[in-house]
Amino acid sequence: MTKDVPPSSVSVPPKKKRWSADYIYCNLSYLTMVLPGAIWLFLFSYLPMPGIIIAFKTYRLQKPPADFWIQNRFIYSLIESPWVGLDNFRYLILPTNLNNTIMFVRNTVLYNLLFMIVGLVCTVLLAVIIYELTNRFWAKLYHSIFFLPFFISWVVVAYVVYALANHAGIINTTLASLGSPPLEIYKEKIYWPFIFLIGNLWKYTGNGSILYLAIITGIDRQLYEAAAIDGANKVQQFFHVTLPHLIPTIVLLQILAVGRIFGSDFDMFYTLPAGSALIRDVTTTIDIYVFNMLRSTSPIGYPAAVALVQSVVGFLLILITNFIVRKTRPEMALF
């Protein structure tokens, strides 16, 4: 229906006079349009922001006195709870907790690096292969299949893992028929990094490659022809023609990924182990820890401190990465 529109060469209509009735009317329309979204952002994104001060307090839920300006227990408690400085942060590095803290931070960062690197390679590789296949019908079919897992929730994946991995699961019944002893997958840590990696690739590779495929499709074929005439084989063509076109998008997506390095796919890490406590050392990420602490009886200042570090580090990382990119290759920076 819509084809790519060439950049406007038609002269832009003369600028309306500032503060003309039309200008004001237009802007009032725009304001009413953005208003619902702005309200949503205020309620769901900005309203929780002041709450980060819980990390510096011993939060106690108290009922506000009748003369308090707002009759809300959370707001009153937030203001009235005593400041404790960095005590909540110190709790995390107490000798008794330090190993645990290192464990979940390490899990989060390592899983993210693993997914970033392996995910990137697989995604680009898939896009290139799909593009190179000579039969378009099959290429489209493969790509549609690869995209399918994106629709499946992690809870359903948890069922699949269960059917495969429980002690009477498909893996163990198959092993038994071959005469091998069963694997206690829900009880041993060694399997889980692989399960998470495979799950992550399974769910996101097809979806991620759409973008790269679109870029590759848009590359001028004359560049490949020139390279081929110069004697470049397919691999050389990839590194000298395809990859340079993909780099800006790769950089952009990696900046965003670096900003999320302290985050994690909560649903995956929470549902796949199906609550098995024996493997928690390899399935607990920062998000999981914060959630579990929030649900436990311990003071919420502790998880709040972790969540604050998570937010601030993510924010700083994205600023720093973007700053470095802007200094070296300004056209690739996010902002």
């Binding site: 790519d4 832009v12 237009c26 802007n27 329309s29 304001l31 349009m33 979204g37 949503w40 952002l41 309620l43 769901f44 309203l47 929780p48 002041p50 709450g51 980060i52 809300n72 959370f74 707001i75 593009y131 296949l133 000579t134 039969n135 378009r136 489209k140 079919l141 493969y142 299949i145 629709f151 929730s153 809870v155 359903v156 948890a158 069922y159 699949v160 269960y162 059917a163 429980n166 498909i170 163990n172 019944t173 829900y186 759409i210 679109a214 074929r221 800006p248 998008t249 199906a274 914060v290 959630f291 929030l294 919420i300 998880p303 709040a304 969540a307 604050l308 937010s311 993510g314 902002f335």
Partner: protein, 307 residues
């Protein structure tokens, strides 16, 4: 999907990979596709295994005895699943419609050069992509200030808007709706609202379809917000319903030998029934795929490239 057409010269393109390479790649792709589809097979085959066969032989790639009892039972007596379905459908429809409206309304003014507060509202949305208040205060605000816990709102309102999709749609509108067209409509005396609804919206259908699809998947598969905000079984959506049952069976079965006498395994709803529940959870969202497919590759790729 939009995949490139190869210009063939005398049957074969000079840039095309050799027949041998093509064959090998095809074989690899077929194997990979089968592996990608394997989880669907696993869960479907488990759900049509007879309960007896599952108890005696465990899960098998090819069960000894098939049975569709789980499904007949599901549709006859599956009251948990019916409630969960109702909640999921209501929240998905409401959330998808709402998110498309909110995102379009927010994205369009950001494309207009005469919007006085464009910079402010761009930043207002962008900042939330970089920084957040964290889970703890989000949880407290949802429960203590907005108080949407244990209401149907909790199933879709927290996912009803997304700054990321605002920027995708903004780029889409910028590149697909000619500025002259909007200006011409304005010259003819059309109001901004009229222009948005009658001109911008019809031209942005692929972009909007993409937003709708991703929003629908997100809300259909919503698990986290239910975990955080819903305590009542009547308000569970599909994902949370099947999650809580999986957790129960895994725990009970693996610890059954330690709790002799405390748990009667025969009283547990059947395992095939659970698997069938997981299968019917997938169904509808997969059906949405072909419907949106024609639009959404275009919508997604063009909108997401930096502009």
């Amino acid at each position: 999907m939009d995949t490139p057409m190869v210009n063939t010269k005398n049957g074969r393109d000079m840039l095309a990979i050799s027949r041998g390479t093509n064959t090998i790649l095809n074989i690899i792709m077929v194997i990979l596709c089968l592996l990608v589809l394997a989880p669907f097979y696993v869960i479907i085959i488990s759900s049509i295994t007879s309960e007896n066969s599952l108890t005696v032989n465990g899960y098998r790639l090819w069960p000894e005895e098939f049975s569709f009892n789980a499904y007949t039972y599901l549709f006859r007596e599956g009251s948990i699943i019916i409630t969960a379905y109702r909640n999921t459908i209501i929240s998905t429809v409401a959330g998808t419609v709402l998110s498309v409206i909110l995102i379009l309304l927010y994205a369009y003014p950001l494309t207009r050069s005469n919007f006085r507060f464009k910079g402010f509202f761009t930043f207002f949305a962008f900042f939330t992509m970089l920084f957040g208040g964290g889970l703890v205060s989000y949880y407290m605000v949802m429960r203590q200030i907005l108080q949407i816990q244990n209401t149907i709102w909790a199933l879709f309102l927290p996912s009803a808007f997304s700054p990321f999709w605002v920027f995708v749609l903004r780029t889409y509108i910028k590149t697909h709706v000619p500025e002259e067209l909007i200006e011409a409509a304005r010259m003819d005396g059309a109001s901004e609202w009229f222009t948005l609804i009658k001109i911008v919206m019809p031209l942005s259908v692929p972009g909007l379809a993409t937003v709708a699809l991703f929003s629908a998947i997100g809300i259909w598969n919503n698990f986290f917000n239910v975990l955080l905000l819903i305590d009542q079984v009547e308000l569970y959506n599909l994902q949370y319903t099947i999650y809580s049952t999986l957790n129960n069976i895994r725990f009970l079965l693996e610890n059954a030998f330690q709790m002799q006498g405390q748990v009667n395994l025969a009283e547990l709803p059947s395992q095939t029934f659970r698997m069938a529940m997981a299968v019917v959870t997938i169904g509808p969202i997969i059906l949405a795929y072909p419907f949106f497919q024609r639009y959404f590759v275009r919508g997604m790729t063009i909108g997401a490239i930096k502009g």
